[in-house]
């Protein structure tokens, strides 16, 4: 049996090996992705982002347990945990499993650690491909824990259907960690470590920032009188999702059931509003265009004499040609 058939039949060792080939962008891995593609599109991808130490791994541990024990019928759960690759050595220490020991011994859970391998933005280049493999292998819930180091972890919002942004109280005197950019990608906000002092002020700050991006009511000054119009009343057809804020204590499992309900509600919202399809479309279109670009460039380069290409590049370097003119020149030469 080949690797793809074995994966579709539920062979975990085959799945693990295939993940490695896909991660290494081995030709066999790319071929397998193509064969698995018809089996994808069923999973709910849940991104988990937030600064290091806020409790992302601990939270994923509890969420996975909840899906396996409390949800009927229990979905299979995959976890992809991304940690940074050292820019100096190219190596990495991947430590998220330390917080996920409760999940061992359950064959309906599969945890895979990934090094970012030089890619910025909180994911590795092949994280999306790994999620596709899990999807095809029948994992219905897929958690993706990001590196969590930067403010610009927008890639996760593009990949996941539902993005959780995790904060913790007391990470700075004010909430330094909370930047507008990361809030914009949040479908659900989680204040973890709610057992710690400072929860109230963290929640208040989050609400204030949320109000800016999702105004709940519009305040008008009308003939000197202040009028308040609730957003829902102003535009009842405007079916928008306002990110809920949840408090959790991952170490004790508090707030997890409510969070899982919220995740399910968000999925429902995506489907009913048509956003699920719109996201799928945008994601697949981006993937298609990336591949097209890569393929066309490759074709173009293989058909043009290297000396000519080099010559044009030299002219650009000498500022005799602009890159735009260079493209025209190269493309016209090909057609002429």
């Amino acid at each position: 049996m080949n690797l793809v058939d074995a994966v579709l039949a539920g062979d975990r060792l085959a799945l693990s090996r295939l993940l490695t080939r896909v991660e290494n962008q081995h030709p066999e891995g790319i071929e397998a992705l193509s064969q698995l593609f018809p089996h994808t599109g069923r999973a709910h991808l849940i991104g988990v982002t937030g600064a290091p130490g806020t409790g992302k791994s601990s939270l994923v541990n509890r969420l996975a347990l909840h899906y396996r024990r409390e949800v009927q019928p229990a979905p299979r759960v995959a976890i992809i945990a991304v940690d940074p690759t050292s820019p100096f050595s190219g190596g990495a220490v991947l430590g998220d499993r330390v917080r996920m020991r409760d999940l061992s011994g359950d064959s309906g859970i599969f945890i895979r650690s990934m090094a970012s391998r030089g890619s910025l933005g909180g994911l590795a280049q092949t994280t999306a491909a790994l999620a596709q493999v899990f999807d095809a292998a029948g994992y219905e819930i897929i958690f993706i824990e990001t590196v969590g180091a930067g403010q610009n972890e927008v890639d996760i919002a593009r990949l996941a259907h539902t993005t959780l942004v995790v904060e913790a109280p007391g990470l700075g005197d004010d909430i330094q960690a909370i930047k507008a950019g990361i809030l914009e990608i949040a479908d659900i906000l989680v204040i973890n470590k709610a057992d710690r002092p400072g929860v109230e002020s963290t929640e208040k700050a989050l609400r204030n920032m949320l109000e800016l991006s999702h105004p709940l009511r519009h305040v008008f000054r009308h003939h000197g009188k202040i009028e308040v119009v609730e957003a829902a009343a102003a535009a009842p057809q405007y079916n928008s999702w306002i990110p809920p804020i949840h408090r959790t204590v991952a170490t004790e499992g508090k707030g997890i059931a409510e969070l899982v309900e919220s995740i399910a509600r968000h999925r429902q919202h995506l489907i009913e509003s048509g956003d699920w399809e719109a996201r799928e479309r945008a994601r697949l279109q981006a993937e298609l265009e990336d591949l097209l670009r890569e393929t066309l460039l490759h074709q173009f380069r293989s058909r043009i004499a290297p000396q000519i290409y080099e010559q044009v590049l030299q002219q650009v370097l000498a500022r005799e040609l602009s890159p735009w003119d260079a493209v025209h020149l190269l493309v016209d030469r090909r057609q002429g």
């Binding site: 975990r12 060792l13 693990s16 090996r17 993940l19 490695t20 290494n24 962008q25 081995h26 690759t85 050292s86 100096f88 050595s89 190219g90 190596g91 990495a92 220490v93 991947l94 430590g95 499993r97 330390v98 020991r101 061992s104 011994g105 599969f110 945890i111 895979r112 650690s113 090094a115 391998r117």
Partner: protein
């Protein structure tokens, strides 16, 4: 295509209390360009084999200070074999009496290190075992 990354699971089976040594080794392997999956304290052989399977590692490094190596190591080896991962190289570090070393090697362990082992030696041995380059 990028060079093959060596993936290593560093685990601490048994009940003894601290993992300083294991962490030092994990960091040294990272600095040698390897991807190290660190699993923390008090891992059972079942947990270790399961993690090795899910992470598709080339190497499992076991740090054992408790003296229980003669029970823990064969169990890990057996589970790896059961899972179809007999190709995974197993390295053992910790406090291992001299007379146990040949017995562990005979069982299929690739190398055994005492508390004074140099990380350079461990790195070199792992590379040799996985990539087949001469040590």
């Amino acid at each position: 295509m990028e060079e093959r990354k060596i993936r290593v699971l560093v685990a601490k089976p048994g009940l003894d209390g601290h993992d300083r040594g294991a962490k030092v080794v994990a960091r040294a392997l990272r600095d040698a360009g390897m991807e190290v999956i660190y699993t923390g304290l008090r891992q059972t052989p079942e947990m270790i084999a399961e993690a090795a399977l899910q992470e598709d590692v080339d190497v499992v490094g076991l740090s054992i200070l408790s003296g229980a190596h003669m029970e823990l190591v064969p169990r890990v080896l057996e589970l790896l074999r059961q899972n179809g991962q007999e190709h995974v190289k197993v390295f053992v570090g910790g406090i291992i009496p001299d007379e146990d070393v040949p017995r562990l090697l005979e069982m299929g362990v690739t190398a055994v290190y005492g508390p004074g082992a140099l990380t350079e030696d461990i790195i070199r041995d792992i590379r040799a075992a996985v990539l087949g380059t001469p040590a």
